[in-house]
Assembly symmetry: C2
Homo-oligomer: 361 residues x 2
């Protein structure tokens, strides 16, 4: 089978990236292992414990529990599932801002819970008062996002945590994308900053591990016991997952990446990515686009759909927000040269659009 | 990070194996791709279509629909979810033989459906009359297993399918492990043999692909639409999954393996594995153990727990059935030499056990 995947040099809207070389090497070394079967594969199972330790360090949790999931979607679904199991109500609801990831809609559908979606403010962040007005005694879970999918925004995590506490609901922070850049900012987002119960934080996004390597962290191990099936307590953390067989490549690559890059390498990457995002935002503003200022390395701008499709026709891998803006995620593989090339193509399209086309009529 | 995984040369109870070299190479080539984002990764998304085509060919389905899942657990959970969505009853139940995989218990817990477990017969197969007596008008799904986890048994698939039809329930066949060996037997197990609606069939087990590569096949595309969230029809098959980001490595390795090995390579492997299982069964019977005759390449025998633990202490990766038998799965990496070495160690332990130990008292 001689097919090649496309290169990364035109991928601008993905929250995944090329795995770091040490992560790739670890993935290949552990390709034929299964942490879902700790008895057969004890080495990679021990590596998973180490991955959780390191994720806990990043997320401000001294005695972390959790596991390496297939991705942020599984982590988010499982967080909702834990909350459902602990809910007092027979009709539990989950409250989240509209910027919450699609995986929470999937979770509500799969798990049979009501999802209450609260509008964000004009800066695309959760509106604290609206969340406060939406929770009630049946609320099992409040969700805050630390690095939203469309705009890279950080919700007011401590305030949302207090609202959850006020109605005896759990509080989940989705830091699937943001978790590996936020440590280098002034945002309050993690277990040390707020009454967070569960968190998604994905090594295979900004963590530069290989797919699949998502992360579910929980404040204490008995929260994971809620995921046990048929028994009151987990016999093994690996039974808690939504899968059976799991990828040792993902687990090993997560440990290798964090071993190599935390904290200095991730800090350097954050600075580079944030600088790139700000450079791009400036470049687009100069050209007359309305730009959502990047709080994290993600830029949205009102580039019209015609230009957007023309850029895609040139090979750029792009996606748009629900409000129909262009959305660029400055992942580690995104270089200043790539962005300059992108802006150059944008300029050429704009020139072409403004030059009258000779008519054949 | 210089840790190495243990070698495969002592792994005897895993349903996973070393990926075939072409599968490993494809996995490495597509490591940094995500079929959960077809717009950004069109090449690997097209490969997934091809994987489903080939799985359909193996499973007797002319116009297959489905997707490459994280594993058999996700495929089984999603099959139950499809049945739940289509059920007329407000209290749907799922009927399965006790040999059904743990993932169906997980599915029932996650999805909030009742699971009715029917005892197997003395040959560890589903008891048709007991299943018939257990289904009722609330039954949404009947499950048959083609290659059970503990004994490698094949249920009477056509009869179970008829029972499902008789109560307007769906019929799911779990061929996660068996699907890549059954084509070379006389068993009736697939879409061409019975009114099968959905099937699990995992390339990363006997298919010799890299983890993660499970498979969910459905008889017609509208069954997948039941997995859509918020919309009546799927906009993209990739929305149907239980995950978000997915492993392109798994998808590419599945296509590469099937391209290389179907059908002749898989046939040769089945013959080799079945011969190994029968050799092992004979060797154990000669030594006085009660052996469950292998219908497929899986051997169970009443090796006592003390001997079992001593074998594990020698480095053999082994597991036991719920009835406390030793369970050996003759996967592609399991060679006659490995089995002979295993039996040799067993013999040495038996000798030691029968020689009186000089006492220190």
């Amino acid at each position: 089978m001689q097919i090649e995947p496309q290169a990364f040099d035109r991928v601008l809207s993905s929250m995944c990236t090329e795995p770091h070389p040490v992560a790739r090497e670890a993935a290949e070394r552990f390709l034929a292992t299964n942490p879902g079967d700790p008895g057969t594969y004890p080495t990679v199972s021990a590596l998973e414990d180490e991955a959780i330790e390191r994720l806990g360090e990043i997320a401000g949790l001294d005695e972390p529990a959790g596991y390496v999931a297939s991705g942020g979607t599984e982590a988010n679904v499982q967080a909702v599932r834990i909350a459902r199991e602990r809910a007092d109500s027979s009709r539990p609801n989950v409250v989240m801002p509209e910027s919450g990831h699609f995986s929470f809609r999937k979770a509500a559908d799969v798990l049979g819970v009501e999802l209450r979606i609260v509008p964000t403010d004009d800066r695309h962040r959760a509106t604290v008062e609206a969340v406060r007005a939406t929770v009630d005694d049946d609320t099992a879970l409040v969700i805050g996002v630390a690095g939203t999918t469309e705009y890279g925004r950080v919700d007011p995590i401590p305030e949302l945590g207090e609202i959850a506490r006020s109605v005896d609901a759990m509080f989940h922070v989705d830091a699937a994308w943001g978790g590996f850049v936020l440590p280098f900012t002034d945002y309050e987002w993690h277990f040390g900053h707020a009454p967070v119960d569960t968190m998604s934080i994905d090594p295979h996004k900004m963590g530069q591990a290989a797919v699949p390597a998502g992360g579910l962290l929980v404040r204490s191990p008995e929260l994971l016991d809620e995921l046990a099936v048929d028994t009151p307590y987990l016999e093994s953390t690996s039974q808690a997952t939504l899968t059976g067989t799991r990828s040792g490549a993902g687990v090993a690559s997560a440990v290798a990446a964090m071993d190599e890059l935390w904290p200095a390498g991730y800090r350097r990457q954050y600075v580079r990515s944030q600088n790139n995002a700000e450079w791009l935002a400036d470049a687009l503003k100069k050209r007359g686009y309305a730009v959502v200022e990047p709080s994290l390395p993600l830029v949205a701008a009102d580039v019209d759909r015609g230009t957007f499709e023309a850029l895609r026709a040139k090979g750029w891998r792009l996606s748009r927000t629900a409000a129909d803006e262009l959305r660029i995620v400055c992942m580690p593989h995104v270089t200043r040269t790539m962005l300059a090339s992108f802006v150059g193509d944008l300029d050429r399209l704009e020139v072409r659009a403004s030059v009258p086309v000779a008519s054949d009529d």
